[in-house]
Symmetry: C2
Amino acid sequence: MTLETVSVPAHAPLELEHFLPYRLSILSNTVSQSIADEYQGRFQLSMTEWRVMTILARFPASSATQVVERTRMDKVAVSRAVARLVEAGRVDRGTYDGDKRRSVLQLSEAGWAIHDEVAPLARAHERELLGKLSEDEKAWLEKILDKLLG
Amino acid sequence: MTLETVSVPAHAPLELEHFLPYRLSILSNTVSQSIADEYQGRFQLSMTEWRVMTILARFPASSATQVVERTRMDKVAVSRAVARLVEAGRVDRGTYDGDKRRSVLQLSEAGWAIHDEVAPLARAHERELLGKLSEDEKAWLEKILDKLLG
DNA sequence: ACCTTATAGTTTCACTTGTAACCAATTGCA
DNA sequence: TGCAATTGGTTACAAGTGAAACTATAAGGT
């Protein structure tokens, strides 16, 4: 063994394509974007707005803060999304009796109409994605996500 | 059955917390952000820049286009990340002989130094995440991601 | 009651991002 | 050879984003 062969520490480059956080990021972006592409053009609806709408569909009369908690989105992002939705007549904003700071948000008639068109479309995308997996794999994925999101 | 109980189509709200695209998005953002938080403050390094660096570590002398292909990132994003990296003296940019449009990108000494600090840190995060899973689950996750990304 | 602190939500500002237009070098082919 | 189409990469502009400051209301303690 010669002296030169020793002592140069090898760099150990990350293999992005096998790096879990990276793969998750690619997958997530691809999936969310492909859904968003459908409703953005058709309904002038951003992903943030859509997420707010899904929360208001499930939990009607939520306050903005509750939407933030349930979407894990930024407070400012929610505020702006709500403003645009109200502006567009898709969400009605009221004030909570007993705390005038608090808003009471509801999907309007028009909001529900859009919701009822977009929701099946989103579900179809999910089904398509899950269609790539066997029953076993779907079950494992469920369990794995539960643990990771724990 | 009375007339009223018929014909009002129930809204079927998406349950975000069981909706795969949404869960992937939360997981991915949480994970990537927690890694990024560490190197952003410490090295003034954005996630895009870090991704470019990992590619240049694995495939030295790549062109910008090759980086784009390998990261699946946007062409403009890469261009800007590279510009900042060059500016900061972390990447050396040369020109390809035989096609003067094409760049030849390499980590500089300083770039390697940062790489060698950040890479283990990123790996540690990945290990921590995977630590939540059993051996079985890890194996399934691998396979599932292969299929979904395939 | 008074004053401090906390909470709901919005606005501002600086920065990032994506789309489209762009420039320059290269290729294809009439 | 000459000129349209392609490719590598950057720039410009508009839209989106987050951190911090701000307004208004409410709660808590003295």
